[in-house]
Protein backbone atom coordinates (compact mmCIF):
# COMPACT_ATOMS: atom_id res chain seq x y z
CA UNK A 1 0.00 0.00 0.00
CA UNK A 2 2.95 2.26 0.63
CA UNK A 3 3.73 1.89 -3.04
CA UNK A 4 0.35 3.30 -3.96
CA UNK A 5 0.87 6.21 -1.61
CA UNK A 6 4.33 6.91 -2.96
CA UNK A 7 3.21 6.73 -6.56
CA UNK A 8 0.25 8.95 -5.85
CA UNK A 9 2.61 11.56 -4.44
CA UNK A 10 4.87 11.21 -7.43
CA UNK A 11 1.95 11.63 -9.79
CA UNK A 12 0.79 14.64 -7.90
CA UNK A 13 4.17 16.31 -8.12
CA UNK A 14 4.52 15.38 -11.78
CA UNK A 15 1.11 16.83 -12.48
CA UNK A 16 2.18 19.94 -10.65
CA UNK A 17 5.27 20.24 -12.74
CA UNK A 18 3.60 20.02 -16.12
CA UNK A 19 1.01 22.85 -15.91
CA UNK A 20 3.43 25.14 -14.07
CA UNK A 21 5.78 24.73 -16.99
CA UNK A 22 3.31 25.62 -19.65
CA UNK A 23 2.29 28.70 -17.71
CA UNK A 24 5.85 29.94 -17.46
CA UNK A 25 6.51 29.22 -21.10
CA UNK A 26 3.31 30.91 -22.22
CA UNK A 27 3.72 34.20 -20.41
CA UNK A 28 7.42 34.58 -20.89
CA UNK A 29 7.58 34.32 -24.63
CA UNK A 30 4.96 32.24 -26.26
CA UNK A 31 6.32 32.36 -29.77
CA UNK A 32 9.99 32.15 -28.95
CA UNK A 33 10.51 29.65 -26.18
CA UNK A 34 14.12 29.01 -25.36
CA UNK A 35 15.74 25.62 -25.61
CA UNK A 36 15.63 25.16 -21.86
CA UNK A 37 11.90 25.79 -21.77
CA UNK A 38 11.25 23.29 -24.52
CA UNK A 39 13.41 20.73 -22.77
CA UNK A 40 11.57 21.44 -19.51
CA UNK A 41 8.22 20.79 -21.17
CA UNK A 42 9.36 17.60 -22.84
CA UNK A 43 10.93 16.20 -19.67
CA UNK A 44 7.76 17.19 -17.81
CA UNK A 45 5.68 15.20 -20.28
CA UNK A 46 7.95 12.16 -19.96
CA UNK A 47 7.82 12.42 -16.17
CA UNK A 48 4.06 12.67 -16.25
CA UNK A 49 3.80 9.68 -18.55
CA UNK A 50 6.10 7.62 -16.35
CA UNK A 51 4.05 8.58 -13.29
CA UNK A 52 0.88 7.45 -15.06
CA UNK A 53 2.43 4.13 -15.98
CA UNK A 54 3.61 3.75 -12.39
CA UNK A 55 0.11 3.78 -11.04
CA UNK A 56 -1.56 1.90 -13.88
CA UNK A 57 0.83 -0.98 -14.56
CA UNK A 58 -0.21 -4.37 -13.26
CA UNK A 59 3.35 -5.51 -12.62
CA UNK A 60 4.51 -4.56 -9.15
CA UNK A 61 8.23 -4.33 -9.79
CA UNK A 62 7.67 -2.49 -13.06
CA UNK A 63 5.72 0.09 -11.09
CA UNK A 64 8.72 0.61 -8.82
CA UNK A 65 11.05 0.90 -11.81
CA UNK A 66 8.77 3.43 -13.51
CA UNK A 67 8.83 5.33 -10.24
CA UNK A 68 12.60 5.57 -10.74
CA UNK A 69 12.00 7.16 -14.15
CA UNK A 70 9.48 9.57 -12.63
CA UNK A 71 11.75 10.67 -9.80
CA UNK A 72 14.71 10.92 -12.15
CA UNK A 73 12.62 13.08 -14.48
CA UNK A 74 11.82 15.38 -11.59
CA UNK A 75 15.55 15.62 -10.83
CA UNK A 76 16.18 16.66 -14.43
CA UNK A 77 13.48 19.33 -14.08
CA UNK A 78 15.26 20.70 -11.00
CA UNK A 79 18.49 20.72 -12.97
CA UNK A 80 16.88 22.67 -15.79
CA UNK A 81 15.69 25.21 -13.23
CA UNK A 82 19.36 25.57 -12.11
CA UNK A 83 18.61 23.96 -8.73
CA UNK A 84 21.57 21.62 -8.98
CA UNK A 85 21.83 20.79 -5.30
CA UNK A 86 18.17 19.85 -4.98
CA UNK A 87 18.43 17.74 -8.11
CA UNK A 88 21.27 15.59 -6.81
CA UNK A 89 19.69 15.27 -3.39
CA UNK A 90 16.54 14.11 -5.15
CA UNK A 91 18.49 11.39 -6.95
CA UNK A 92 20.39 10.45 -3.80
CA UNK A 93 17.39 10.17 -1.50
CA UNK A 94 14.57 9.07 -3.76
CA UNK A 95 16.18 7.04 -6.52
CA UNK A 96 19.12 5.77 -4.48
CA UNK A 97 17.43 5.01 -1.18
CA UNK A 98 13.64 5.17 -1.21
CA UNK A 99 13.17 3.11 -4.35
CA UNK A 100 15.83 0.63 -3.26
CA UNK A 101 13.99 0.25 0.04
CA UNK A 102 10.75 -0.19 -1.87
CA UNK A 103 12.26 -2.81 -4.18
CA UNK A 104 13.76 -4.54 -1.15
CA UNK A 105 10.36 -4.70 0.48
CA UNK A 106 8.76 -6.01 -2.70
CA UNK A 107 11.39 -8.67 -3.26
CA UNK A 108 11.35 -9.72 0.38
CA UNK A 109 7.61 -10.26 0.46
CA UNK A 110 6.42 -11.01 -3.06
CA UNK A 111 7.72 -10.07 -6.44
CA UNK A 112 6.10 -12.24 -9.07
CA UNK A 113 7.23 -11.89 -12.66
CA UNK A 114 4.33 -10.98 -14.85
CA UNK A 115 1.00 -9.47 -13.92
CA UNK A 116 -0.38 -9.52 -10.42
CA UNK A 117 -4.12 -9.94 -10.66
CA UNK A 118 -4.58 -8.36 -7.25
CA UNK A 119 -2.49 -5.31 -8.11
CA UNK A 120 -5.73 -3.63 -9.12
CA UNK A 121 -7.30 -1.64 -6.34
CA UNK A 122 -11.03 -1.26 -5.88
CA UNK A 123 -10.38 2.25 -4.67
CA UNK A 124 -9.13 3.48 -8.02
CA UNK A 125 -11.74 6.19 -8.39
CA UNK A 126 -11.28 7.41 -4.85
CA UNK A 127 -7.51 7.38 -5.38
CA UNK A 128 -7.89 9.27 -8.65
CA UNK A 129 -10.08 11.87 -6.95
CA UNK A 130 -7.58 12.35 -4.17
CA UNK A 131 -4.68 12.55 -6.63
CA UNK A 132 -6.43 15.11 -8.85
CA UNK A 133 -7.54 17.14 -5.85
CA UNK A 134 -4.09 17.23 -4.29
CA UNK A 135 -2.51 18.01 -7.67
CA UNK A 136 -4.99 20.86 -8.17
CA UNK A 137 -4.30 22.20 -4.70
CA UNK A 138 -0.55 22.03 -5.26
CA UNK A 139 -0.74 23.70 -8.67
CA UNK A 140 -2.98 26.41 -7.29
CA UNK A 141 -0.74 27.12 -4.31
CA UNK A 142 2.46 27.09 -6.34
CA UNK A 143 1.06 29.25 -9.13
CA UNK A 144 -0.44 31.67 -6.64
CA UNK A 145 2.76 31.93 -4.60
CA UNK A 146 5.23 32.31 -7.45
CA UNK A 147 3.07 34.18 -9.97
CA UNK A 148 5.51 37.05 -10.25
CA UNK A 149 8.73 35.19 -9.58
CA UNK A 150 11.08 34.58 -12.47
CA UNK A 151 14.15 32.44 -12.61
CA UNK A 152 16.88 33.87 -14.79
CA UNK A 153 18.05 30.69 -16.46
CA UNK A 154 20.99 32.40 -18.17
CA UNK A 155 22.32 34.21 -15.12
CA UNK A 156 24.20 32.75 -12.15
CA UNK A 157 22.64 29.59 -10.76
CA UNK A 158 19.79 30.52 -8.43
CA UNK A 159 19.77 27.08 -6.82
CA UNK A 160 23.46 26.49 -6.20
CA UNK A 161 24.52 24.81 -2.96
CA UNK A 162 25.62 28.08 -1.36
CA UNK A 163 22.33 29.84 -2.16
CA UNK A 164 20.23 26.87 -1.07
CA UNK A 165 22.15 26.46 2.16
CA UNK A 166 21.99 30.15 3.01
CA UNK A 167 18.24 30.40 2.44
CA UNK A 168 17.61 27.12 4.27
CA UNK A 169 19.57 28.04 7.38
CA UNK A 170 18.73 31.74 7.45
CA UNK A 171 15.09 32.04 6.39
CA UNK A 172 13.75 28.53 6.84
CA UNK A 173 15.65 27.21 9.81
CA UNK A 174 12.60 26.78 12.01
CA UNK A 175 10.66 24.53 9.59
CA UNK A 176 13.92 22.67 8.99
CA UNK A 177 14.33 21.99 12.71
CA UNK A 178 10.67 21.06 13.10
CA UNK A 179 11.07 18.52 10.29
CA UNK A 180 14.16 17.05 11.96
CA UNK A 181 12.24 16.61 15.19
CA UNK A 182 9.41 14.96 13.25
CA UNK A 183 11.84 12.53 11.61
CA UNK A 184 13.49 11.82 14.94
CA UNK A 185 10.10 11.05 16.44
CA UNK A 186 9.37 8.68 13.56
CA UNK A 187 12.72 6.98 14.08
CA UNK A 188 12.17 6.53 17.81
CA UNK A 189 8.66 5.29 17.14
CA UNK A 190 9.93 2.69 14.68
CA UNK A 191 12.45 1.43 17.21
CA UNK A 192 9.82 1.24 19.95
CA UNK A 193 7.40 -0.64 17.69
CA UNK A 194 9.99 -3.15 16.52
CA UNK A 195 11.22 -3.86 20.03
CA UNK A 196 7.67 -4.34 21.24
CA UNK A 197 6.95 -6.92 18.55
CA UNK A 198 10.21 -8.65 19.38
CA UNK A 199 9.34 -8.88 23.08
CA UNK A 200 5.94 -10.34 22.27
CA UNK A 201 7.26 -12.95 19.88
CA UNK A 202 9.88 -14.08 22.37
CA UNK A 203 7.37 -14.84 25.13
CA UNK A 204 6.61 -18.47 24.08
CA UNK A 205 9.32 -20.73 25.53
CA UNK A 206 9.96 -22.45 22.17
CA UNK A 207 11.50 -19.34 20.72
CA UNK A 208 14.27 -18.72 23.19
CA UNK A 209 16.79 -17.29 20.81
CA UNK A 210 14.86 -14.15 19.90
CA UNK A 211 14.91 -12.75 23.40
CA UNK A 212 18.60 -13.14 23.94
CA UNK A 213 19.32 -9.87 22.20
CA UNK A 214 22.41 -11.09 20.39
CA UNK A 215 22.32 -11.19 16.63
CA UNK A 216 21.14 -14.51 15.28
CA UNK A 217 23.87 -16.47 13.61
CA UNK A 218 23.22 -18.46 10.51
CA UNK A 219 25.46 -21.47 11.18
CA UNK A 220 23.81 -21.79 14.55
CA UNK A 221 20.45 -22.53 13.01
CA UNK A 222 22.08 -24.89 10.56
CA UNK A 223 23.67 -26.94 13.29
CA UNK A 224 20.37 -27.32 15.07
CA UNK A 225 17.78 -28.24 12.47
CA UNK A 226 15.02 -28.13 15.05
CA UNK A 227 15.53 -24.40 15.30
CA UNK A 228 14.70 -23.81 11.66
CA UNK A 229 10.97 -23.95 11.95
CA UNK A 230 10.68 -21.29 14.56
CA UNK A 231 8.10 -18.57 13.92
CA UNK A 232 9.22 -15.65 11.84
CA UNK A 233 10.76 -12.99 14.02
CA UNK A 234 11.61 -10.69 11.15
CA UNK A 235 11.01 -7.39 12.82
CA UNK A 236 14.08 -5.47 11.77
CA UNK A 237 15.79 -5.54 8.39
CA UNK A 238 18.89 -7.23 9.74
CA UNK A 239 16.97 -10.22 10.95
CA UNK A 240 14.75 -10.15 7.93
CA UNK A 241 17.69 -10.68 5.61
CA UNK A 242 18.92 -13.42 7.86
CA UNK A 243 15.63 -15.17 7.60
CA UNK A 244 15.78 -15.09 3.85
CA UNK A 245 19.36 -16.23 3.88
CA UNK A 246 18.38 -19.39 5.68
CA UNK A 247 15.12 -20.04 3.92
CA UNK A 248 14.94 -23.30 2.11
CA UNK A 249 15.38 -22.74 -1.64
CA UNK A 250 12.31 -24.85 -2.33
CA UNK A 251 10.18 -22.60 -0.17
CA UNK A 252 11.52 -19.59 -1.97
CA UNK A 253 10.63 -21.14 -5.30
CA UNK A 254 7.13 -21.81 -4.09
CA UNK A 255 6.70 -18.24 -2.99
CA UNK A 256 7.47 -17.05 -6.45
Amino acid sequence: MSLVAATATATASAVTAAPATSLAADTHGFLSPTGVEIAFLLVGLVTFGAALVTVTTRQLVHAALWLVVTLGGLAVEYLLLTAEFIAWVQVLIYVGSVVVLLLFGLMLTRAPIGRSPDADSGNRWAALTVAVASAAALVWVVVDAFRATWIDLDGPAAGSTAVTGASLFQNWVLPFEALSVLLLAALVGAIVLSRKAKAESSSPPVNSRAGSGSSPSVPDSRNHPSGRKEPAQATDPVQATDQVGTTDPAEQEGAR
Binding site: V61, L65, V89, V99, M107, S215, S217, V218, V244
Partner: protein, 322 residues
Protein backbone atom coordinates in the same frame (compact mmCIF):
# COMPACT_ATOMS: atom_id res chain seq x y z
CA UNK B 1 33.11 25.43 -32.32
CA UNK B 2 36.04 25.27 -29.92
CA UNK B 3 33.54 24.74 -27.13
CA UNK B 4 32.03 21.75 -28.87
CA UNK B 5 35.51 20.41 -29.61
CA UNK B 6 36.50 20.86 -25.98
CA UNK B 7 33.43 19.01 -24.72
CA UNK B 8 33.91 16.22 -27.23
CA UNK B 9 37.55 15.84 -26.29
CA UNK B 10 36.76 15.68 -22.58
CA UNK B 11 34.01 13.12 -23.09
CA UNK B 12 36.31 11.08 -25.29
CA UNK B 13 39.11 11.10 -22.71
CA UNK B 14 36.71 10.10 -19.92
CA UNK B 15 35.35 7.32 -22.12
CA UNK B 16 38.81 5.99 -22.91
CA UNK B 17 39.73 6.08 -19.21
CA UNK B 18 36.48 4.27 -18.47
CA UNK B 19 37.31 1.53 -20.95
CA UNK B 20 40.99 1.03 -20.15
CA UNK B 21 41.49 1.63 -16.43
CA UNK B 22 39.11 -1.12 -15.28
CA UNK B 23 40.97 -3.55 -17.53
CA UNK B 24 44.28 -2.47 -16.03
CA UNK B 25 42.90 -3.03 -12.54
CA UNK B 26 41.52 -6.40 -13.63
CA UNK B 27 44.85 -7.50 -15.06
CA UNK B 28 46.64 -6.25 -11.93
CA UNK B 29 44.21 -8.26 -9.86
CA UNK B 30 45.00 -11.41 -11.85
CA UNK B 31 48.73 -10.97 -11.37
CA UNK B 32 48.76 -9.63 -7.79
CA UNK B 33 46.40 -12.31 -6.54
CA UNK B 34 48.43 -14.98 -8.28
CA UNK B 35 51.72 -13.86 -6.80
CA UNK B 36 50.20 -13.48 -3.33
CA UNK B 37 49.06 -17.10 -3.60
CA UNK B 38 52.36 -18.35 -4.96
CA UNK B 39 51.13 -18.73 -8.55
CA UNK B 40 52.12 -17.01 -11.78
CA UNK B 41 48.70 -16.03 -13.05
CA UNK B 42 48.06 -15.54 -16.79
CA UNK B 43 51.30 -16.03 -18.73
CA UNK B 44 50.38 -16.81 -22.36
CA UNK B 45 47.92 -14.30 -23.84
CA UNK B 46 49.81 -11.52 -25.61
CA UNK B 47 53.20 -13.07 -24.94
CA UNK B 48 54.68 -10.88 -22.21
CA UNK B 49 53.39 -12.09 -18.83
CA UNK B 50 49.90 -12.56 -20.20
CA UNK B 51 49.23 -8.84 -20.59
CA UNK B 52 46.40 -9.43 -23.06
CA UNK B 53 44.50 -11.87 -20.86
CA UNK B 54 41.53 -9.56 -20.36
CA UNK B 55 41.41 -8.67 -24.05
CA UNK B 56 41.19 -12.39 -24.75
CA UNK B 57 38.49 -12.67 -22.09
CA UNK B 58 36.57 -9.87 -23.78
CA UNK B 59 36.76 -11.61 -27.14
CA UNK B 60 35.54 -14.81 -25.51
CA UNK B 61 32.61 -13.02 -23.87
CA UNK B 62 31.64 -11.36 -27.14
CA UNK B 63 31.47 -14.73 -28.89
CA UNK B 64 29.18 -16.32 -26.34
CA UNK B 65 25.48 -16.59 -26.89
CA UNK B 66 23.37 -13.99 -25.15
CA UNK B 67 20.79 -16.10 -23.34
CA UNK B 68 17.66 -14.71 -21.75
CA UNK B 69 15.92 -17.31 -19.55
CA UNK B 70 12.42 -18.26 -20.65
CA UNK B 71 10.83 -17.25 -17.36
CA UNK B 72 12.68 -13.96 -17.12
CA UNK B 73 11.26 -10.50 -17.47
CA UNK B 74 12.91 -9.88 -20.80
CA UNK B 75 13.25 -6.10 -21.00
CA UNK B 76 14.30 -5.53 -17.39
CA UNK B 77 16.75 -8.41 -17.67
CA UNK B 78 18.36 -6.90 -20.75
CA UNK B 79 18.40 -3.36 -19.40
CA UNK B 80 20.01 -4.22 -16.05
CA UNK B 81 23.70 -4.34 -17.16
CA UNK B 82 23.44 -0.87 -18.67
CA UNK B 83 21.88 0.51 -15.49
CA UNK B 84 24.70 -1.06 -13.49
CA UNK B 85 27.50 0.22 -15.72
CA UNK B 86 26.55 3.69 -16.95
CA UNK B 87 26.47 5.48 -13.57
CA UNK B 88 30.19 4.81 -13.09
CA UNK B 89 30.91 6.32 -16.50
CA UNK B 90 28.95 9.41 -15.52
CA UNK B 91 30.69 9.66 -12.13
CA UNK B 92 34.11 9.61 -13.79
CA UNK B 93 33.16 12.90 -15.47
CA UNK B 94 33.17 14.70 -12.13
CA UNK B 95 36.43 13.41 -10.63
CA UNK B 96 39.24 15.97 -10.94
CA UNK B 97 42.70 14.53 -11.55
CA UNK B 98 44.72 17.76 -11.51
CA UNK B 99 44.55 21.42 -10.50
CA UNK B 100 42.49 23.84 -12.55
CA UNK B 101 39.42 23.39 -14.69
CA UNK B 102 41.33 21.64 -17.44
CA UNK B 103 41.77 18.45 -15.48
CA UNK B 104 38.18 17.51 -14.74
CA UNK B 105 35.49 16.33 -17.13
CA UNK B 106 32.87 18.70 -15.76
CA UNK B 107 33.04 21.06 -12.79
CA UNK B 108 29.93 20.49 -10.70
CA UNK B 109 28.73 22.78 -7.96
CA UNK B 110 27.40 19.92 -5.81
CA UNK B 111 30.02 17.38 -6.88
CA UNK B 112 30.01 15.27 -3.71
CA UNK B 113 26.26 14.82 -3.85
CA UNK B 114 26.42 14.11 -7.56
CA UNK B 115 28.94 11.30 -7.29
CA UNK B 116 27.29 9.63 -4.31
CA UNK B 117 23.82 9.94 -5.83
CA UNK B 118 24.84 8.49 -9.18
CA UNK B 119 26.87 5.70 -7.60
CA UNK B 120 23.76 4.72 -5.65
CA UNK B 121 21.82 4.41 -8.90
CA UNK B 122 24.23 1.75 -10.14
CA UNK B 123 22.99 -0.66 -7.50
CA UNK B 124 19.54 -0.55 -9.11
CA UNK B 125 21.10 -2.55 -11.94
CA UNK B 126 21.92 -5.42 -9.60
CA UNK B 127 18.43 -5.26 -8.11
CA UNK B 128 16.82 -5.34 -11.55
CA UNK B 129 19.04 -8.26 -12.57
CA UNK B 130 18.25 -10.13 -9.38
CA UNK B 131 14.55 -9.78 -9.79
CA UNK B 132 14.22 -10.17 -13.55
CA UNK B 133 16.23 -13.40 -13.77
CA UNK B 134 13.38 -15.46 -12.26
CA UNK B 135 15.95 -17.46 -10.35
CA UNK B 136 15.91 -17.99 -6.61
CA UNK B 137 19.65 -17.47 -6.28
CA UNK B 138 19.44 -14.25 -8.24
CA UNK B 139 16.60 -13.03 -6.05
CA UNK B 140 18.59 -13.78 -2.91
CA UNK B 141 21.56 -11.96 -4.38
CA UNK B 142 19.39 -8.97 -5.22
CA UNK B 143 17.98 -8.91 -1.71
CA UNK B 144 21.42 -9.03 -0.17
CA UNK B 145 22.55 -6.25 -2.52
CA UNK B 146 19.69 -4.03 -1.40
CA UNK B 147 20.26 -4.74 2.30
CA UNK B 148 23.95 -4.00 1.89
CA UNK B 149 23.35 -0.76 0.02
CA UNK B 150 20.91 0.50 2.64
CA UNK B 151 23.40 -0.26 5.40
CA UNK B 152 26.50 1.22 3.81
CA UNK B 153 25.14 4.27 2.01
CA UNK B 154 24.74 6.12 5.31
CA UNK B 155 28.34 5.97 6.61
CA UNK B 156 29.59 6.87 3.13
CA UNK B 157 27.41 9.96 3.03
CA UNK B 158 28.27 10.99 6.58
CA UNK B 159 32.02 10.78 6.04
CA UNK B 160 31.76 12.64 2.73
CA UNK B 161 29.76 15.29 4.58
CA UNK B 162 32.59 15.52 7.11
CA UNK B 163 35.07 16.40 4.35
CA UNK B 164 32.60 18.86 2.87
CA UNK B 165 32.33 20.49 6.30
CA UNK B 166 36.11 20.72 6.58
CA UNK B 167 36.46 22.29 3.13
CA UNK B 168 33.37 24.48 3.37
CA UNK B 169 32.24 23.37 -0.09
CA UNK B 170 30.67 20.34 -1.75
CA UNK B 171 32.42 20.82 -5.06
CA UNK B 172 35.17 18.26 -5.66
CA UNK B 173 37.73 20.71 -7.14
CA UNK B 174 36.79 23.13 -4.35
CA UNK B 175 37.56 20.50 -1.72
CA UNK B 176 40.95 19.88 -3.32
CA UNK B 177 41.72 23.60 -3.46
CA UNK B 178 41.05 23.87 0.27
CA UNK B 179 43.07 20.77 1.14
CA UNK B 180 45.91 21.03 3.66
CA UNK B 181 48.29 18.20 4.54
CA UNK B 182 47.07 18.03 8.15
CA UNK B 183 43.62 17.05 6.95
CA UNK B 184 45.09 13.61 6.48
CA UNK B 185 45.33 12.78 10.21
CA UNK B 186 42.25 14.90 10.90
CA UNK B 187 40.01 12.93 8.52
CA UNK B 188 41.70 9.55 8.71
CA UNK B 189 38.81 7.82 10.48
CA UNK B 190 36.42 9.19 7.88
CA UNK B 191 38.72 8.01 5.11
CA UNK B 192 38.78 4.46 6.41
CA UNK B 193 35.02 4.39 6.94
CA UNK B 194 34.42 5.80 3.45
CA UNK B 195 36.71 3.28 1.83
CA UNK B 196 35.26 0.31 3.69
CA UNK B 197 31.69 1.41 3.02
CA UNK B 198 32.58 1.93 -0.64
CA UNK B 199 34.00 -1.58 -0.86
CA UNK B 200 30.76 -2.90 0.59
CA UNK B 201 28.71 -0.91 -1.89
CA UNK B 202 30.75 -2.38 -4.74
CA UNK B 203 30.25 -5.86 -3.25
CA UNK B 204 33.97 -6.48 -3.28
CA UNK B 205 35.43 -9.10 -0.97
CA UNK B 206 35.27 -9.31 2.01
CA UNK B 207 31.81 -7.81 1.46
CA UNK B 208 30.79 -10.06 -1.44
CA UNK B 209 27.89 -11.73 0.30
CA UNK B 210 25.52 -10.76 -2.56
CA UNK B 211 27.58 -12.80 -5.03
CA UNK B 212 28.80 -15.47 -2.63
CA UNK B 213 29.62 -18.21 -5.12
CA UNK B 214 29.61 -21.06 -2.62
CA UNK B 215 26.02 -20.35 -1.58
CA UNK B 216 24.12 -18.56 -4.32
CA UNK B 217 26.30 -19.22 -7.40
CA UNK B 218 26.81 -15.63 -8.54
CA UNK B 219 23.94 -13.80 -6.92
CA UNK B 220 22.06 -11.43 -9.16
CA UNK B 221 24.28 -12.23 -12.17
CA UNK B 222 23.74 -16.00 -12.12
CA UNK B 223 21.66 -16.11 -15.30
CA UNK B 224 23.77 -13.73 -17.35
CA UNK B 225 26.00 -14.82 -20.20
CA UNK B 226 28.20 -13.28 -22.83
CA UNK B 227 28.55 -9.54 -23.17
CA UNK B 228 25.94 -8.66 -20.59
CA UNK B 229 27.81 -10.65 -17.97
CA UNK B 230 31.03 -8.93 -19.05
CA UNK B 231 29.33 -5.58 -18.58
CA UNK B 232 28.52 -6.45 -14.97
CA UNK B 233 32.15 -7.42 -14.40
CA UNK B 234 33.28 -4.20 -16.06
CA UNK B 235 30.93 -2.29 -13.75
CA UNK B 236 32.63 -3.86 -10.75
CA UNK B 237 36.09 -2.81 -11.89
CA UNK B 238 34.93 0.63 -13.00
CA UNK B 239 33.47 0.89 -9.51
CA UNK B 240 36.90 0.18 -8.03
CA UNK B 241 38.39 3.00 -10.12
CA UNK B 242 35.62 5.37 -9.07
CA UNK B 243 35.85 4.46 -5.39
CA UNK B 244 39.64 4.75 -5.28
CA UNK B 245 39.54 8.02 -7.23
CA UNK B 246 36.91 9.44 -4.90
CA UNK B 247 38.78 8.40 -1.77
CA UNK B 248 41.89 10.01 -3.24
CA UNK B 249 40.07 13.24 -4.02
CA UNK B 250 38.11 13.49 -0.79
CA UNK B 251 40.60 12.27 1.80
CA UNK B 252 44.10 11.92 0.35
CA UNK B 253 44.45 15.32 -1.24
CA UNK B 254 44.13 14.32 -4.91
CA UNK B 255 46.75 16.16 -6.92
CA UNK B 256 48.50 17.57 -3.84
CA UNK B 257 51.87 16.01 -3.14
CA UNK B 258 55.15 16.78 -1.44
CA UNK B 259 56.53 18.22 -4.69
CA UNK B 260 55.61 18.98 -8.29
CA UNK B 261 51.88 19.25 -7.67
CA UNK B 262 51.48 22.08 -10.18
CA UNK B 263 52.66 20.44 -13.36
CA UNK B 264 52.48 16.79 -12.44
CA UNK B 265 49.49 16.83 -10.11
CA UNK B 266 47.71 14.21 -12.18
CA UNK B 267 50.55 11.79 -11.54
CA UNK B 268 49.87 12.07 -7.81
CA UNK B 269 46.17 11.42 -8.35
CA UNK B 270 46.85 8.37 -10.48
CA UNK B 271 49.50 7.10 -8.07
CA UNK B 272 47.23 7.38 -5.03
CA UNK B 273 44.36 5.78 -6.94
CA UNK B 274 46.62 2.92 -8.01
CA UNK B 275 47.81 2.32 -4.45
CA UNK B 276 44.22 2.21 -3.24
CA UNK B 277 43.27 -0.18 -6.05
CA UNK B 278 46.14 -2.42 -4.97
CA UNK B 279 44.74 -2.27 -1.46
CA UNK B 280 41.34 -3.39 -2.78
CA UNK B 281 42.94 -6.41 -4.40
CA UNK B 282 45.04 -7.13 -1.31
CA UNK B 283 41.92 -7.10 0.87
CA UNK B 284 40.26 -9.58 -1.47
CA UNK B 285 43.11 -12.03 -1.10
CA UNK B 286 43.47 -11.52 2.65
CA UNK B 287 40.07 -11.57 4.27
CA UNK B 288 37.37 -14.23 4.27
CA UNK B 289 33.82 -13.27 3.33
CA UNK B 290 31.69 -11.65 6.00
CA UNK B 291 28.41 -13.34 6.84
CA UNK B 292 25.25 -11.33 6.24
CA UNK B 293 24.63 -10.54 9.93
CA UNK B 294 28.30 -9.66 10.50
CA UNK B 295 28.04 -7.38 7.50
CA UNK B 296 25.06 -5.52 8.88
CA UNK B 297 26.54 -5.40 12.35
CA UNK B 298 29.78 -3.91 11.06
CA UNK B 299 27.90 -1.11 9.37
CA UNK B 300 25.37 -0.20 12.02
CA UNK B 301 27.41 -0.71 15.17
CA UNK B 302 30.85 0.33 13.96
CA UNK B 303 30.91 2.41 10.79
CA UNK B 304 27.91 4.64 11.49
CA UNK B 305 29.05 5.61 15.01
CA UNK B 306 32.60 6.15 13.75
CA UNK B 307 31.41 8.43 10.98
CA UNK B 308 29.24 10.38 13.42
CA UNK B 309 32.27 10.75 15.70
CA UNK B 310 34.28 11.96 12.70
CA UNK B 311 31.64 14.58 11.94
CA UNK B 312 31.71 15.73 15.57
CA UNK B 313 35.52 15.95 15.48
CA UNK B 314 35.42 17.87 12.20
CA UNK B 315 32.89 20.29 13.64
CA UNK B 316 34.90 20.90 16.82
CA UNK B 317 38.20 21.45 15.00
CA UNK B 318 36.46 23.65 12.44
CA UNK B 319 35.01 25.86 15.16
CA UNK B 320 38.31 26.01 17.06
CA UNK B 321 40.46 27.05 14.11
CA UNK B 322 38.03 29.55 12.62
Amino acid sequence: MTDALDVTLRLLIVFVVFLTFPLIVGQTEHKVMAHMQGRLGPMYAGGFHGWAQLVADGVKFAQKEDVVPAGADRRVFQLAPAVALLPYLVVLLAIPIGPGEGAVGQVLDAGVFFVLAVMGVGVLGSLMAGWASANKFSLLGGLRTAAQLLAYELPMLLTAASVAMAAGTVSLPGILDAFQWWWLPWQIVGAIVFFVAGLAELQRPPFDMPVADSEIIFGAYTEYTGLRFALFLLAEYAGIIVLCGLTTVLFLGGWHGPWGSDGLGWVWTLLKTAVLAFLVIWLRVTYPRLREDQLQKLSWTLLVPLSLAQIALTGIVKVVIS
